[in-house]
């Protein structure tokens, strides 16, 4: 069992990180904490992808030094890390930042309107605002 965990510990790490993030998103009542959870969650996926690209046995970063000047020779694939997950994650990082940005904008909007970022307080405030209106309609 332990061997099995160690052989693939990268996956275990990402899963645990992801669980932390997911728990924060679902279990926390503070909206900023939820957002932080979301970021942890996204980061864990990025780590997962990047770890796919690893090649053991001396592979190095996917930059071909000394190959750039016109003539080229064959490259040994085993010496270069898999570049594709890196590319994908560059995009995913940007997506994650963009999402965070929009979420923060929404949070600012919420704060402007309710003066708090605790979900319970916001719900209570909304309920309090709705109650007198309902009473007006009833009468």
């Amino acid at each position: 069992m332990l061997e099995y965990v160690i052989a693939k510990y990268n996956y275990w790490v990402y899963v645990i990180l992801m669980m932390i993030g997911l728990y924060a998103m679902m279990g926390k009542r503070n909206l900023v904490k939820k957002l932080i959870g979301m970021n942890i969650f996204q980061t864990s996926i990025i780590l997962f992808y990047v770890s796919i690209g690893v090649k053991k046995g001396g592979a190095t970063v996917p930059i071909l030094e000394g190959h750039g000047h016109g003539g080229h020779q064959a490259v040994d694939v085993a010496t270069i890390l898999n570049p594709l997950p890196h590319v994908l994650m560059l995009t995913a990082i940007v997506v994650s930042i963009a999402t965070t940005g929009v979420a923060l904008a929404a949070l600012i909007l919420i704060y402007r309107r309710y003066g708090t970022l605790e979900e319970d307080e916001i719900i209570a405030a909304r309920r309090a605002a709705a109650a007198p209106k309902a009473k007006d309609q009833a009468s």
């Binding site: 969650f41 996204q42 996926i45 796919i52 995913a92 999402t99 979420a103």
Partner: protein, 503 residues
Amino acid sequence: MTAQLPALQIAIPLLGAFITPLIGWHRPRLAGLWALAVLAGAAALAVALLMQVTAHGPISYHLGNWAPPWGIAYAVDHLTVLMLLLITGIGLMAFLQARPAVAVSMPGREPYFYTLFLLQVTGLSGIVITGDMFNLFVFLEISSLSGYALIALGEDGAPLATFNYIIIGTVGACFYLLGVGYLYIVTGSLNMADLANLLPALYHSKVVLVAFAFFTVGVAIKMGLFPLHTWMPDAYTTAPAPASALIAPLMTKVAAYVMIRIMFTVFRPEFDIGVIPVATILGWMAVIAILVGGIKALAQTDLKRMLTYIMVAEVGYIVMGISVMNRPGLTGAILHIMNDACMVACLFLVIGALAHKGIPRTISELGSLNRKMPFTMAAFVVAALSMCGLPPACGFFSKWYLVQGTVAAGQWVFAGTLLVSSLINAVLFFRVIEKAYLAPGGGHGHDDQQHDDGHGTANVVRDEAPAAMLAPILIMAALILVLGPFSGTIIDAVISHAVPAAF
């Protein structure tokens, strides 16, 4: 030129979106016209693409001329063009109504609204047109982000609903991304067609099973399948009317499209049936979704919120059609994607017209609305009857295929659920129609005096929405009536090619 149609289909709304704020900073009015022209162009392109695909078969378009699986490819087949037509067409209709509405309801923000609107259309089009799993994620995020923003500036409660939608929507998108990663680990490929060739050998790998599970959950979140629908009623109800008329009909349908793509293009039906009983699970989830959606809708007093719960049920319809795994069922599901998009669009456009006129959405306050807005209400009735599955509106035909699919699969409970649900819809909509069409208070009967014209409601003046807002409503209503009788033709020409040959 025709060879570049697939690229233009995305490029035009995308570049249009980039340019819109530039125009808008100087001339907000002009930005609206510009965005309208862009959308019209996109819709025209979709029509052209439809004609090309029906004439010459599916197109594989290699971006940058890199052959897949190394580069990104568009896979434009019959299902794709149908969705593109739906997205651009409904986008155009929603925009026709949104332009005058936004000018009134959010002055100073119109160019941004237009930009986000175009980005939303771009994102959705990108999702359906791409043949690459990761590229799909990117466009999913474009459409999601623009969707979050469009919803955020709604009525009271919208920001919180938006934030919750962002959180849960991100979970959905990330689950999808995880699925892509898991498939990549065991296949090394991101291209759908390539994956479809590589996967059958791996169908019993646990990685593939988990990937499939995460795809399904992620997509189910985006399409609002019960019990992952919780974000949907809040988000769509509180969204500003012009935005909800775009997002509500399309987002869930595009997610349903993604589900069909994954289940029938990336994976094969053998996997969906043989390896894990996903069909059965989805079918029963659909049953619950349909019933819970209907019952929750019965409990609503707010017309728009009622519609969102009906949408939860309608998503159940589509998933049920997918889950029975036979030709009529899947035909019904695809047909219902199209029909339901039109119906929901029509209903939300009606809501938009009501909102523009400042009419409260509470059902009990809709009395005599038919006198005030006769055309809008006529369109509402058409869409409502279609929702109840009454012919000759298009809803009847998709219901027919869905029922036929469930019967062919021997799933009598599913068939019963569909039928009960259409009765629930009838109760829901006739409640509204009764309220809107009958004199408030009733009891006028035969008092001979006040019958000259108004029948006791003479004080209600006609106050119809402006023509620019009314036109898309009426077009959608007419479409609902036309699509029905022509569904046989549509299925022959388009949908039958989208169903896997194995069925």
